[in-house]
């Protein structure tokens, strides 16, 4: 293993560990899970559209919470390190700025991957829990209500006995618990009878969440680039602005139709987040094709690399 690779692993690993220990990470991930799963229990008047609404809401929560998490994580790991001065010690070692920058991005990306995984599991559960014919899935609800006890009590006991940090332990346990709940509910119907594995869960949700995860990685690239200069409030605000502008980019381009150059530039600069919004595709019996995901991934990679280049340029010139 080369020294460079070891350095990269060390930097990214430390950043990821630090991010997992942040109370804000804990709150954002768990709130996303709670909102995703509880929405179907609250909406029961849609006359046949409950599952659609549950999935739409879940995907929207994933997008927004993921965006805020990306912005917060990027600033927490990069901007705050610059501000506190700990970066000086790192740069007194033989570590290049490019490696440092990419390691931070990798840590944020891995955190978002974990977030997307938890969100995917929660979305699968939300779709399963959505009432059909005004009947609720009591088995699922009981599992959901039991999950905080299943997660927090062991995490608390571990903290009590071994002083292991409560926050990352809880997150890890929640990921495991959600996975277990999905596996259990995919083999049981609403009456608790055994059925063929996977028949009670809408697996089309997974590629949809993956597509959104790719969008979040794109936003993470933007966030880490912004975090090289801006603090958390400004970064998150700009990300929210980009989200809004990205979602209405077609409308903006229409407004600028009389000025083709401006419209073209706008379309190039703003991320085309509409191509990452999978909810419409999932309506009725639609599904996301591999080609669509591949196309989105290529776009995100190209855009993300461009943004990271800009971000690194800003970071490279930064003086401490």
């Amino acid at each position: 293993m080369t020294i460079g690779f070891k350095q990269f692993i060390a930097l990214a690993g430390l950043a990821l560990t630090d991010l997992f220990r942040q109370p804000a990470t804990f709150l954002l991930v768990l709130t996303n899970i709670a909102c995703t799963i509880l929405v179907p229990l609250c909406i029961s008047h849609q006359l046949g559209q409950q599952t659609h609404l549950a999935v739409d809401s879940a995907l929207a929560f994933e997008f927004v919470f993921g965006l805020i998490l990306a912005g917060y994580a990027a600033c927490s790991t990069l901007h705050n390190e610059c501000r506190s001065g700990t970066i000086l010690i790192i740069f007194s070692k033989p570590v290049g700025r490019l490696m440092f920058f990419l390691a931070k991005f990798t840590a944020v990306a891995l955190l978002l991957a974990f977030f997307v995984y938890c969100s995917s599991m929660a979305t699968l559960l939300a779709e399963r829990l959505a009432p059909r014919n005004f009947e609720f899935d009591m088995l699922g609800i009981k599992l959901i209500l039991a999950s905080p006890f299943v997660v927090f009590i062991p995490a608390g006991l571990l903290n009590f006995r071994t002083h292991r940090s409560f926050v990352p332990t809880s997150l890890f346990f929640y990921a495991l618990t959600l996975t277990a709940m999905v596996l259990i509910l995919s083999t049981l119907d609403r009456e608790g009878q055994r059925v063929a594995f996977g028949s009670m869960v809408d697996w089309r949700i997974l590629p949809a969440c993956l597509l959104e995860g790719i969008a979040l990685l794109l936003l993470a690239a933007i966030a880490i680039s912004l975090a090289s200069r801006l603090a958390a409030p400004a970064t998150v605000t700009l990300l929210l602005f980009l989200l809004f502008a990205g979602l209405v980019s077609d409308h903006l381009a229409g407004l600028l139709a009389s000025v083709p150059t401006a419209g073209f530039v706008l379309k190039m600069i703003l991320p085309d987040l509409q191509s990452f919004w999978p909810a419409d595709k999932l309506s009725d019996s639609g599904a996301l094709s591999g080609a669509m995901i591949g196309h989105a991934a290529v776009y995100a990679t190209a855009y993300g690399m461009g943004v990271l280049c800009l971000g690194y340029t800003a970071f490279r010139e930064k003086q401490f």
């Binding site: 903290n159 009590f160 002083h163 409560f166």
Partner: protein, 288 residues
Amino acid sequence: MGTQNGLVIEARKLTKIFRDFWHRPKVTAVHGIDLEIRQGEIFGLLGPNGSGKSTTLKMILGLLHPSSGDLTVLGKPPHDVAVKARMGFMPEESYLYKYLTAVEILNFYANLYGLSGSLKKERVEGLITQVGLTAARNRPIGEFSKGMARRVGLAQCLLNDPDLILLDEPTSGLDPIACREVKDLLLGLAKRGKTILICSHHLADMQDICDRVAILLNGDICTQGTVQDLLINPDTLRLSLPAPPRETLSAILDYIEQETGRRPVVDHTGRTLESVFIETVTRHPSTP
């Protein structure tokens, strides 16, 4: 000022235990110490890192609550606001507002002390001059060097002409000349009846100015007393005399060896590096 018995700070079995989330004791930072600091003295609190100096200081400042024991400052509980009107504190790091200039920050703290009008102006201007920041008075603190920020820190703790002054590493980050000035300042304050409590690792500085010191280790006071008493070794003497001829010196040494059973050690007296530095800098033609 202080209590009837002239004690400015009085601690009896003062203890501070930091606990974890489950309320189990995690660290006993201060372990039942007894401390008495009298009016007009300069008291030094020494100890290695993690010995409990800062924790003790923070309890005296009312930033931390003692887990047990009694603590009075100027005859009152430390969190009493009236106590703070007569106290000045200079922390180890300059936790100042970086977007304010030196004058603005002193004016702000003066307002918190309730100073106003001509008295405030007089004090602020006087302290700016005293700490040598006249040229940089209108620059933001964020542009100051560490030493300059420390001077602002020192100035703000003297704004209210306090009866009790608490200093955490006051000479840290200062050059030897500035160090000397700070020490002279503190000695001057003590002569005026102020009580000074210093936490520092600079033992030479503490030896220079402190009347009494206490050495903390693992939350306990293991040694306490006047500097004089602590430093004196009553079993030995040091003589200073003009250098005699070789034969005379040898005879003197032989006689002492005969009387005491041990041959004395002889070397030339010298100056301290501090005095050499100050002399060199002050005498240099480029020094104004």
